[in-house]
């Protein structure tokens, strides 16, 4: 197994873990940060697949602006998800 493939598998495993964390967190601020980490790992994966143009757009929009909009929405509402 080459180091390239090993690193790519590591990034994909991190994508799955952060995607599960987004759904399971009850603290919505932590869920927003996990969503930002998901976007950052996705940008790294785009860069590994030799699409640096898409990687810059994903890092700017996904990791930066979407997280900022989520944090502003959490500031206007409640931070913790309620039990049903």
């Amino acid at each position: 197994m080459t180091p390239y493939l090993f690193f790519q598998g590591l990034v994909l495993a991190g994508l799955i873990v952060s995607g599960i964390l987004v759904v399971t967190f009850k603290d919505l601020l932590a869920a927003a940060i996990a969503s930002g980490a998901f976007s950052l790992l996705l940008a790294l994966e785009f860069y590994l697949l030799q699409a640096p143009d898409v990687a810059i757009a994903e890092a700017g929009i996904g990791a930066g602006l979407t997280t900022a909009i989520f944090i502003i929405a959490i500031r206007g509402t409640k931070r913790y998800e309620e039990e049903e």
Partner: protein
């Protein structure tokens, strides 16, 4: 939810570096990966740090909505005028009449990979700057309008 001093100081420290990197992506748009849209999004991320760490009343001292609207309109006008200018020079809309002429942004380059000369590309760098201003103003305006709608007196 009020932001602490740690968040504010970190946002202030990262803000100029985000802006400079976004300007780099915009001005090198015709040579390296990226371009107007990506660079504008990176610049808007820098100001989003500033907006997230403050309340709406504190942010209006630095950023105003009319300023951002002007920035967006100026970028769009730059794009449209650069496109219409080609019609006056007997080219189709957005025809590249500036490239390889030896003047401003029109250096003559040899065939093969560009060694990194910024003064090339003709109309393309101007269009990148227009799109960058447009995207920066629009995305920052979206976040600022979202912040203006929430109440800050909640614990």
């Amino acid at each position: 939810m009020k932001m602490t001093k740690i968040v504010r100081t970190t946002a202030d420290a990262f803000y100029p570096f985000c802006l400079v990197f976004g300007l780099y992506v915009v001005t090198h748009g015709h040579l390296t990966p990226g371009g107007g849209f990506q660079g504008g999004a990176v610049m808007a991320t820098g100001t989003a740090l500033l907006i997230v760490s403050r309340s709406y009343r504190e942010i209006t001292g630095r950023l105003r909505q009319t300023m951002l609207k002007l920035c967006e309109a100026f970028g769009l006008m730059l794009f449209l005028l650069a496109g219409l200018q080609s019609l006056a020079n007997a080219r189709p809309f957005l025809g590249n009449w500036l490239t390889q002429t030896g003047g401003f942004v029109g250096s003559v380059v040899s065939y093969g990979p560009n060694p990194g000369s910024l003064d090339t590309g003709g109309l393309v760098p101007l269009l990148n700057v227009g799109v960058g201003l447009e995207v920066f103003g629009g995305l920052t305006l979206i976040i600022l309008c979202m912040l203006s709608g929430i109440k800050e007196d909640r614990p």
